[in-house]
Symmetry: C2
Subunit: 320 residues, 2 copies
């Protein structure tokens, strides 16, 4: 039954168990990753004991991102999303054959992780602020060269991921060929808590999860999909990421954007900026059955928006 | 005068000062980042005290990577390198205009950092193993929205970075549009130690460093450039990275590959696989004046090379 959260009270970070709409405190010296790694019987003992600890309604709690990963790998596993995006990118509008061969990913900024309820300052350099509706798996132990039959036991649980994106900046950056940088490094919402695989057993469908997902702006649903439409399972993603490389305990693996789970997919399909880019005051809510919901509001930025000069030319016929 | 290193002795990680070809031990409870952040007078006291500590010749020391960054941002600041690479990529062979506008970067795998002397297993999935000759800056404090006039004081020092790359895999991945993943996540050598900005004062030329760089395979020099050919300074890169986003203490900012600092630049310019891709047994050495040298040998892999199936199709005319 366990769902685990991190929250702040009186300036102190607590680990808690979420149960029946309440958060039950766990003794402070147990960080959430240690808890997730503990053997089943120890976790059960802890759960029984938390019944006697301080508890409060979730709505009165200031939740944090449930983990502070060292590495976030964001995959691209929803075929319909990439098919939609490619219609608006340079090229012939089709999904590249290379997408089908293996689950591709990129690393995200680990310092930009925030929780549900956090305000997201409007980045000063964008007129195309967007979200991405994703589900994240949290890795239980540091692994390398994992076999598929061993992969499930190394996934600690799941949460929702909103990979906030500045589409105009991202588009410019991707023209250089090495992927986005400032277009995606300012905010990543993870939350509301970690739901363990045991908790999701009823939703399991083969090696996928049958979990409806929606995203709404100011209460109006603008996108929906189902997690079972991933073209690879989380276990396969972990196997691929760990091939000849370390994946660390607490690392996050993102599903990639669900279809219609980003405004830019509509922009790309239709050539119209409809729905419009996010504005200050907009509230973005994402819900995934079994995992809960995360909500963030866009607020005015306080960033001074320092810029740097263009490249100094260092190359010419005289050099090479 | 300080250069700081991490090394292993009897299974314990030590922080040391490098001086006159020897490593002087520093008390164990001072990790290298704390040391780099300490005020000048405290560091001087420590340096004086280390004269009385255990010391040994560098060649008898097992050096580690000098930092364990949470995030590595690898930039692309050498114009001649990107000009050479673009000749072999899809497109018209010219440097994209977007490259000149701002210093673009991507995040690398923080778990793959190793030191000089470490063996690099040949990745089981490549026939095009290559290196990248770079210099890395280590960030002193966690910053956000840094102004250019404040940037220099937040750089703790510099080291050499070899960003090992599997060019065949990287090429496939980049066709999807989001940059490389498995083509670059298996190994990053940082080392041999951190050289502080004070130590490099004599090489300073405006806001660049005049530091000759070379890379050799089995003793033969195959590439050389100078760090002053960066199209942006490290201070500018830090300002750009910190714009509306956190850059963490201990994070690494890479210069990107120097011109002729990767075999693939030759392959791309000439259309020939000359020099040939790295093979088991090859020794790659990188030297940068003022920073020292790093050396790694390619060894047989022990990776079982688990693969995952191709994408399961989930999208068709019936879905959207």
């Amino acid at each position: 039954m366990p769902r685990y959260a991190r929250y702040v009270e009186n300036g102190i970070v607590h680990t808690g168990v979420v149960r029946h709409g309440r958060v039950h405190d766990i003794p402070r010296d147990l960080d959430i990753l240690t808890l997730l790694q503990a053997p089943e019987h120890e976790r059960t003992d802890i759960l029984i004991n938390t019944g006697r600890q301080q508890r409060k309604p979730i709505e009165d709690t200031r939740l944090l991102a449930p983990v502070e990963p060292r590495a976030l790998r964001d995959f691209v596993t929803f075929e319909a999303h990439i098919a939609g995006m490619k219609k608006g990118e340079p090229g012939d509008g089709s999904v590249p054959e290379q997408w089908y061969e293996a689950p591709r990913f990129l690393f995200a900024n680990p310092w930009s992780v925030v929780g549900t309820g956090a305000d997201i300052p409007m980045p000063p350099f964008t007129q195309r602020l967007d979200f991405e509706l994703e589900v994240a798996a949290i890795v239980k132990h540091t692994v390398r060269d994992l076999a598929i039959e061993d992969a499930a036991e190394h996934i600690a649980g799941y949460c929702i991921w909103n990979d906030w994106s500045a589409r105009d900046v991202q588009g410019e950056e991707m023209r250089v060929g090495l992927g986005p940088s400032k277009g995606k490094d300012f905010a990543n919402t993870l939350g509301p808590w970690i739901t363990t695989p045991e908790e999701l057993r009823e939703y399991r469908d083969g090696d996928r999860y049958d979990l409806p997902m929606t995203v709404s702006i100011n209460g109006e649903v603008v996108g929906s999909d189902n997690l079972k439409n991933m073209s690879w399972s989380f276990e396969e993603m972990l196997v691929h990421a760990s091939r000849d490389a370390f994946v660390g305990a607490g690392d996050v693996l993102g599903s990639g954007t669900a279809s219609t789970g980003a405004l830019s997919e509509s922009w790309s399909r239709t050539g119209q900026l409809t729905p419009p880019p996010l504005q200050v005051g907009d509230v973005v809510k994402m819900e995934v059955e079994g995992l809960g919901e995360i909500t963030n509001r866009i607020v005015e930025t306080t960033s001074p928006a320092h810029t740097v000069p263009r490249a100094r030319r260092t190359y010419g016929p005289d050099r090479l």
